[in-house]
Symmetry: C2
Subunit: 294 residues, 2 copies
């Protein structure tokens, strides 16, 4: 069993041109019906910083909360965490970047300053009965600094787990992960509660997941249709497409709980609401089991 977290509604749509609230609710509801067990639904960020998520409260209020699905929200700071808790979320995610330069560009402070602020946020969220996942961005490389030493990432992991983080995710923020880098980083951190988040910017998405599976990782992010993009490479692919991940895993005999046909319907909806051809190969060509009629 592999646990897929669907991040199209948040990480995907955050990197697309803004779409109407109604379309976001329809996409969330379609995904909730696929059998996926986890969905990153929205982020509670400042609307000026990320206008794509300005209607997060309304989207979440209108979306159907399906039984058996765990929904999570990304928050940038204590104020966002308070909004997420008030909205009823019990799984929160915060981001810190392994690259100091990326952290300053993205969050306007050093990695150290971000880490220092996490302790209080974790305590507050825990007091409200919710969990905190720390997403370590640029874990596999930074578009400004280049390679990031696995030891640096391992140090951040040790610190945030010590500060009470419930789980860690490694974000391949700009698609710099490769099988080699996955192997090196996983070896450096050892066995921890871990989720991996790959972008398919350079074609290695499924190869990275295959490598991580061999090393025992069982939790992955993916984005329906391959929604999303890379702010540093206009036109580049975004997150690895959920249906490509599910298609490969099911072929390997690994269950995900997801109904691929329903997922493909959700991917077609994602394509419709964004109005652009999404990069998913399985959406384009269908699963390998779909034969040409003679």
């Amino acid at each position: 069993m592999v646990s897929i977290r669907e991040v199209g509604p948040r990480d995907g749509l955050q990197n697309e041109a803004p779409v109407p609230t109604d379309a976001k609710v329809r996409l969330l509801d379609a995904l909730s019906a696929t059998g996926v067990r986890r969905i990153e639904a929205v982020s509670f960020v400042h609307p000026k910083a990320i206008p794509q998520m300005a209607d997060a409260d309304e989207v979440w209020a209108r979306a159907r909360k399906a039984d058996g699905v765990r929904y999570s929200a990304l928050v940038p700071n204590p104020r966002g965490a308070a909004r997420a808790l008030a909205a009823g979320f019990t799984e929160l995610e915060v981001v810190v970047s392994a690259s100091d330069t990326h952290n300053r560009r993205n969050l306007n402070r050093s990695t150290e300053e971000s880490l220092a602020g996490l302790t209080e946020l974790i305590t507050t969220v825990h007091a409200a009965g919710a969990t905190v996942e720390v997403i370590v961005a640029t874990s596999f490389g930074c578009p400004y600094e280049g390679d990031i030493a696995p030891a640096r990432v391992a140090g951040i992991v040790e610190r945030v787990l010590g500060d009470g983080a419930d789980r860690v995710a490694f974000g391949d923020t700009t698609g710099m992960a490769t099988p080699r880098r996955v192997r090196e980083l996983l070896t450096a951190v050892g066995r921890i509660p871990l989720l991996l988040h790959f972008h398919n910017t350079r074609g290695t998405g499924l190869a990275n997941i295959l490598t991580a599976l061999e090393l025992g990782v069982t939790e992955f992010d993916a984005s329906v249709g391959g929604l999303g993009g890379c702010p540093y490479a206009p036109g580049a692919s975004g997150n690895v497409a959920t249906e490509e991940v599910v298609h490969m895993l099911h072929d390997m005999g690994i269950d995900t709980g997801i109904d691929l046909e329903k997922l493909l319907e959700a991917a077609a909806l994602a394509e419709q609401i964004t109005g652009r051809e999404l990069p998913s190969g399985v959406l384009r060509a269908g699963p390998r089991s779909r034969l040409v009629s003679q």
Copy 2:
């Protein structure tokens, strides 16, 4: 060391809208300057069947033959083989499909009839001092029949090697290969002189190559820019992009002899001459070592 055979000029352009002879020669010459050691240059097929290759003789006559590069040609039958030999090729490729239905659709005869005809072709080509590679199409699945039993492919391999074929290639004709299918087929055939040819139709291209590498395969086809397509799935990706393969291999410390920057120039040229955005992620985003200037 992994040996990449660049197939963009043949398999790639054969599945694109026709381009002028001059553009084909420019692409071939650009590829010959990348350090790649093998190029599938043209096919000698009937111009009515495949108009994209109608000018094969002229393309080949005008192309620069670089030192240290092995050039090959695809031939459908003894007549094509005679043309290829007359043009000076010493490495020929012929196709037979593991799927009987696909073989009938593609070549208008059964797999058995194709195999029966191979013996004489191999003898003739060998007599002329050239080699024959047998490409087994639909080795990982057929768009009409679905899964192909690895034992059937293994039987074809045994027969053509017994008939004198110098090498075998497994063609993932419509992108149905997955890590699982690669493992199953390679296990079934054992160690033979083998080249693998993957399409990235469903996103598994690099994951398949990674699996094959682990099982000892060292020869792969790839197409610059991801040129090509899939006749059964309009809009789907074609061959795995050479620069994505090289990018992953070099990151793993595996040499290919190829200069990635020169290859990216050739990929940009491929995009220019076809006039469409090619699916290569590394062409779009650049290699992971290319940093964003601050």
